[in-house]
Symmetry: C2
Subunit: 327 residues, 2 copies
């Protein structure tokens, strides 16, 4: 049975959002055990769950120091429970601050032996008829990486894409400033040389930013700084375009009727682009499933994040990484 520890206090929207997410998830996965961490009075209406009391929270911008200090914070207690061998937990999920969660997961769950640096993974919907997702990593857990770290990200991303999206041999590419072999950041070029001869990944060269959503790549590897810029830019452009679409439809009575006539197609499109469906990011390379739900999670997106954690646990992604790095 899968067992996931849930930080109930991290979301900007309070425990109402996490509680709704837990209920929605549990309805579809009655077999999965969830342990809820938070203020017991706020969780009083969650019956039938194992609970761990935690009366403090870490700030959204907290770093490693605050994480170490705040021993009674729900996020810290949740990660500690996930690391506790007696709990037999598969992983932990939190909607708290990214920096704090990365620190807590790395410090408490500890890196998988052989992993140089854990990395943050996000998946973007491919905007093609066949659908699917492109896995992008590192999305900002570090802001500088070595070529060897990029090489490891490629492997971790492949294992993830296999496990979560069922892609047998995920196409791995390095994010670069051109598709030719000689392109890339200085670190990227060195990583290219390492990946070219790496039998553990299906490396197929460089990819440019405009190819990421076109299906040309399953796993896009970059340093954490680039990944963060890439992720935020994509989100920003998509959000602003969404606003413009709304504006175009609410322009006058005709455009409003136009919307009613074409809304089915737009609903499909909006569903595809909905960040709530991808459920946040996750940290790969630590000894346990570690999923970071969106800070502004509502019930739906917290449920998606729980789904990701569940899928990672069912597919034994952590065990596969532990094995892979043993070789």
């Amino acid at each position: 049975m899968i067992k996931i520890i849930v930080d109930m206090m991290g979301s900007d929207n309070g425990s109402a959002a996490t509680k709704e997410g837990v209920r929605r998830f549990k309805k579809n996965h009655p077999d999965c055990e969830l342990v809820l961490v938070g203020k017991l009075d706020e969780l009083a209406d969650m019956e039938g769950y194992e609970k761990i009391e935690a009366n403090d929270t870490v700030g959204m911008c907290a770093g490693a120091m605050e994480v170490l200090r705040k021993k009674d914070a729900s996020m810290v207690k949740a990660v500690k429970a996930a690391a506790d061998p007696e709990m037999h937990a598969d992983g932990v999920i939190s909607a708290g601050g990214t920096g704090a969660f990365l620190s807590a997961a790395t410090l408490i769950l500890k890196k998988v032996p052989g992993v140089k640096r854990p990395c943050l993974v996000t998946a973007f919907p491919k905007l093609i008829d066949e659908g699917g997702y492109v896995t992008i990593l590192d999305c900002g857990s570090s802001n500088e990486n070595t070529p060897e770290e990029l090489q490891q990200f490629a492997f971790m991303g492949s294992v993830y894409a296999q496990a979560v999206y069922g892609i047998e041999k995920p196409v791995v590419k390095l994010v670069a400033n051109g598709t030719e072999d000689g392109k890339g950041s200085p670190v990227g070029k060195e990583a290219f040389a390492l990946l070219k001869d790496d039998p553990k990944v299906n490396f197929q060269g460089n990819v440019e930013g405009n190819q990421l959503l076109t299906g040309a790549v399953d796993v896009a590897v970059c340093d954490g700084f680039t990944g963060n810029v890439l992720l935020k830019t994509t989100e920003g452009v998509a959000k602003m375009m969404g606003k413009e679409i709304k504006k175009a439809f609410t322009r006058n009575i005709f455009s409003k009727i136009g919307y009613l006539l074409s809304k089915k197609g737009f609903a499909e499109f909006t569903t595809k682009m909905n960040p709530k469906k991808t459920g946040g990011a996750l940290l790969l390379g630590v000894n346990g499933v570690a999923v970071k739900a969106h800070g502004n999670s509502d019930g739906e997106s917290f449920e998606s994040a729980l789904n990701v954690a569940y899928k990672l646990a069912c597919n034994k992604v952590v065990e596969k990484l532990q094995e892979g790095f043993k070789e």
Copy 2:
């Protein structure tokens, strides 16, 4: 009078596109002198223009070596004419390969004294009601930069935004993985320290990728690798979303009617997002206006690129940079 040298052969769409662009531009700017460089037989129907014969072209992926070798290429001859003191030209424009154009402009026009490295500039439309553009640089002329280079990009971008968009004190920010002062790539952090005390720019800290189009910033500074990824990603997401919009509208007869009813609003939106309107990129930091039109320019986008070159020349951007770097 403004005089611009035009490489007529660089576009993927051949001289038909550049000729149309020249004619369109000339209609609105009869006072501006254009010198056309290319095969004389192809330009036979362009009467009343000074012409320079050039019978070769450089490849789209050519670098500095090919530029130095291909003495009869239209791009090389055009840049040489722009550098020739007897021509009294203000600048040069080409739709040829970016790498070749950067090399030719840097080698032949030469860097403005004091400039460490020229940079490629692109402007993106801000997706806000007030409109306007955000200037992004470096967009990929280098793939690694020093903090001092980033500091210079900030100044060059400010001069550009003042001259072309009439922004009195452009808000300059560094592209980073967070808005807090401590964020940024290692090079970015050092540039932050330099810019904080730089009286020549209105530096206001860091900006994240999701804020670029929201009006929070007029000049976004980053290293060339990051800038290239940022640019390509934005283009890619916008293009893919455009396709999805089209798909949603062509779904069935109702959605097609829906499109007819709402197309005015979408036309405004599409016009705003149209890369043809921004006219390509330009190289700042060399002794002359140097505009790189889109490789796949048609008449409209080549006209836009000519407009940018004209505006830069009229506003004496090169002279302002030369003065600014003298101090």
